[in-house]
């Protein structure tokens, strides 16, 4: 164990920092859950890509820089340090990207990864269905083979980014006779293809953060299937692993929140509840613990290891620390917490952040599902 950055790593950090300082928008963008904000964020993705920062760990051939996970962590730290916008292409770069990298053909890698890294194609996820949320194996949307195409019919819901994005990915039942985890395939589809209807779903905060998707005999070329027909469940589990695992929530995000929370506390110190002081310290400690753990996981993967059911520990830890930190902020704000704009008219980011934090324990596999996984797979308790 060696907890100091090499001169090369320090140089890399300086390079990222300089670029971010020069390029991060001075004013916060409009929320990416709204159409105007979405386009601002796509603009930002393209600007990032222009600096070749789309996804630093990917091979140069696909628009990356071929860097390692420690460098990725440094990149993320500088990204959040600079207050850079949320990644509108998160579903693509952090979920689908690693999936294509692991399961895709060379042709698929070339076709999908490069435009993703360049911010040219923005991706939505399409996992859930109205009756398949926590129970994803209950999927009924079909993709029936017809020559060199699949014909997709059915419905997906709670698809993040799907209100405005270009493409989507999800699981479809390619064997109509199959049950549960079998007979599913992992398929990518054009959200503008004929037969796809998007119905934006208004979220808690009032903006259409995700959408319902209706498929009416949508024709998708067979070459849009990742891995073999009927192997979708395993591919999706790997993708879900990425989601819960290393990349979806980089520690820098929570370190930034903890830093802001400390500042908020200092401003409210004289009229804070006694426990708030401890909750603020806990937010910093938990963000740091999550950072150490992420560095440890990154080191393990770089040394040839892999992350399995432990990903469920991560999911629970970050989602609950995030909610707790934002709840503390809401309590520090007291009677102002409900205001969408605080003094001077600035957006109440703590309120927005608290609302978003409530989705953490629900999505990417609810924390109840994660606790089942920990109990059954890590501890070996009976199902």
């Amino acid at each position: 164990m060696h907890l100091a950055y090499t001169p090369e790593q320090q140089d890399f950090r300086a390079e990222v920092r300089a670029w971010m300082e020069a390029n991060v928008p001075k004013e916060p963008l409009v929320t990416l859950e709204r159409e105007d904000g979405y386009h601002q964020h796509v603009e930002w993705e393209r600007r990032l890509a222009s600096g070749n920062w789309g996804m630093v760990t990917w091979p140069e051939a696909y628009g990356g820089r071929g860097l390692d996970l420690i460098q990725w962590l440094i990149f993320e730290e500088e990204y959040y340090r600079a207050g850079a916008p949320l990644r509108v292409n998160q579903n693509g770069i952090f979920l689908l990207g690693p999936t294509v990298m692991e399961f895709g053909t060379d042709e698929q890698k070339a076709r999908f990864l490069t435009p993703m890294a360049k911010g040219e194609v923005i991706w939505a996820q399409a996992w859930s269905e109205p009756n398949a949320g926590s129970d994803m194996a209950a999927i009924t949307s079909k993709a029936i083979r017809d020559g060199d195409h699949y014909v997709i019919s059915g419905q997906k819901t709670w698809s993040s980014r799907a209100s405005f994005a270009d493409w989507g990915f999800g699981l479809f039942r390619t064997d109509p006779e199959s049950k549960r985890h079998k007979g599913l395939s992992f398929i990518l589809f054009d959200l503008n293809a004929p037969g796809v209807t998007r119905r934006p779903i208004r979220q808690l905060h009032g903006d259409p953060g995700f959408a319902e998707l209706f498929f009416d005999e949508v024709r998708v070329p067979v070459e849009n299937r990742i891995a073999g027909e009927g192997e979708g469940w395993n591919v999706a589990m790997a993708t879900a692993g990425f989601e819960r695992g290393l990349m979806l929530r980089s520690p820098a995000r929570f370190q930034a929140a903890a830093e802001r929370l400390v500042k908020l506390f200092r401003a409210h110190e004289t009229k804070a509840a006694p426990a708030a002081r401890e909750q603020v310290m806990q937010a910093w400690m938990d963000a740091q613990a999550y950072a150490y753990n992420t560095y440890a996981v990154a080191s393990k993967i770089m040394a040839g290891g892999h992350i399995g059911a432990e990903a469920s520990l991560n999911k629970i830890f970050w989602s609950e620390l995030d909610r707790a930190a934002h709840r503390t902020a809401m309590q520090l704000l007291g009677a102002s917490a409900e205001l969408r704009h605080l003094d001077g008219g600035a957006l109440n980011m703590w309120l927005e952040g608290y609302i978003f934090s409530l989705s953490g324990p629900i999505y990417a596999g609810s924390n109840e599902i994660q606790r089942n996984i920990i109990a059954e797979r890590l501890l070996g308790l009976p199902r």
């Binding site: 209950a138 779903i201 006694p274 999505y363 609810s366």
Partner: protein, 337 residues
């Protein structure tokens, strides 16, 4: 000594609940949400016809002359139904304060008739609810409570709760009708009472969802994790209720320690409602994160009322002075100190 809700009180409360369930359901909340004023003259007329504005107005002034204990039971029903009309502020907070102040017979009569509405401004809040809907305003200067007719406009602030209408505070003025502290205690008590109603509504919604939503071939409410989340929430809610009732009696009787009991009530109710809100959205899963289920109206009300009329820190400080500071006798034998 008896700690009991009378049959009359239970009947009145149930009547209000039934009435509101009929006219003030989620459909109405959705309709109000898309209206400009977020208020409905029809709804107000109905509330007036039910006699609700006059509940705490003395009988001689055309009201029912009920007590603060009745008030907290009704306030819970307003919370349960998601009522955002300025009924609670006017009828359950301002009316008893004005009745106690004396000399406000005309205004009390107008309140009972549903013709006057009173907005409440106190430095503990950076906003005033329903200011422009009000005919009168109670505000605070140098610790005194001042009453005046409202005039002029104020800036509309943007609450996360789509049905709350908040305005920037205005200059305090008017005739002295009591103390700022009395306003705070009364309003905090009524906020606490609304919060348990809000919590009960979320509990009911989450329970219904858990009974009807199936995953893995069974209702999610059959999973022990869901059961235990909800059971934990029930415990917090049910144990907040007697605290609110105790505070109502203390405040009505002018008990020296009434402020401490109000703070206890506000803390217990806000904690219960906040915990219930997180349990409720978790039970609803992704559906709970949408505007499509009704839950969000009540979650937002819970966040708002939890911070209103003294936040956790404010009320803890009052408990602190009493309990740790030693101003209040504590221990066995001091259940009703």
């Amino acid at each position: 000594m008896d700690f009991i809700i009378t049959e009359d009180q239970a009947t009145l409360t149930q009547g209000v609940r039934d009435y509101l369930a009929g006219v003030h359901g989620p459909e109405l909340l959705r309709a109000l949400d898309t209206s400009d004023s977020r208020r409905s003259a029809d709804v107000w007329r109905g509330l007036v016809e039910m006699g609700l504005p006059g509940l705490l107005v003395p009988e001689a002034r055309g009201g029912l002359g009920l007590s603060l204990l009745d008030a907290v039971l009704i306030a819970a029903e307003l919370g349960r139904a998601g009522v955002a009309e300025p009924l609670a502020d006017t009828a359950l907070v301002a009316a008893p304060l004005l009745a106690k102040a004396g000399g406000q017979d005309a205004l009390l009569g107008a309140i009972a008739a549903g013709e006057a509405k009173v907005a409440l401004q106190h430095p503990v809040n950076p906003w005033v609810a329903d200011l422009e809907d009000a005919s009168h305003i109670l505000s605070v200067k140098n610790g005194a409570l001042l009453l005046t007719e409202r005039s002029g406009d104020s800036e509309l602030l943007d609450s996360v709760d789509p049905l709350r209408r908040l305005y920037a505070p205005v200059a305090a003025s008017g005739v002295d009708v009591g103390s700022a502290d009395a306003l705070l205690d009364h309003a905090a008590l009524i906020a606490a009472a609304q919060l348990v109603g809000v919590a009960d509504a979320m509990l009911e919604q989450a329970t219904d969802y858990a009974k009807n939503r199936s995953q893995f071939g069974q209702p999610i409410g059959s999973f022990q994790a869901v059961k235990h989340h909800l059971a934990t929430a029930v415990v917090k809610i049910e144990f907040a209720k007697p605290v609110i009732q105790r505070a109502a009696v203390a405040l009505a009787e002018g008990t020296a320690s009434a402020s401490v009991h109000v703070s206890h009530a506000k803390l217990a109710a806000a904690d219960a409602a906040w915990a219930m809100s997180e349990t409720a959205i978790q039970t609803h899963g992704a559906m709970g994160y949408t505007y499509e289920v009704d839950l969000h109206f009540w979650m937002k009300r819970a966040w708002a009322l939890a911070g209103a009329w003294g936040d956790r820190a404010f009320h803890l400080a009052r408990i602190d002075a009493a309990v740790i500071g030693g101003a209040l006798p504590i221990g066995p034998g001091h259940s009703f100190a």
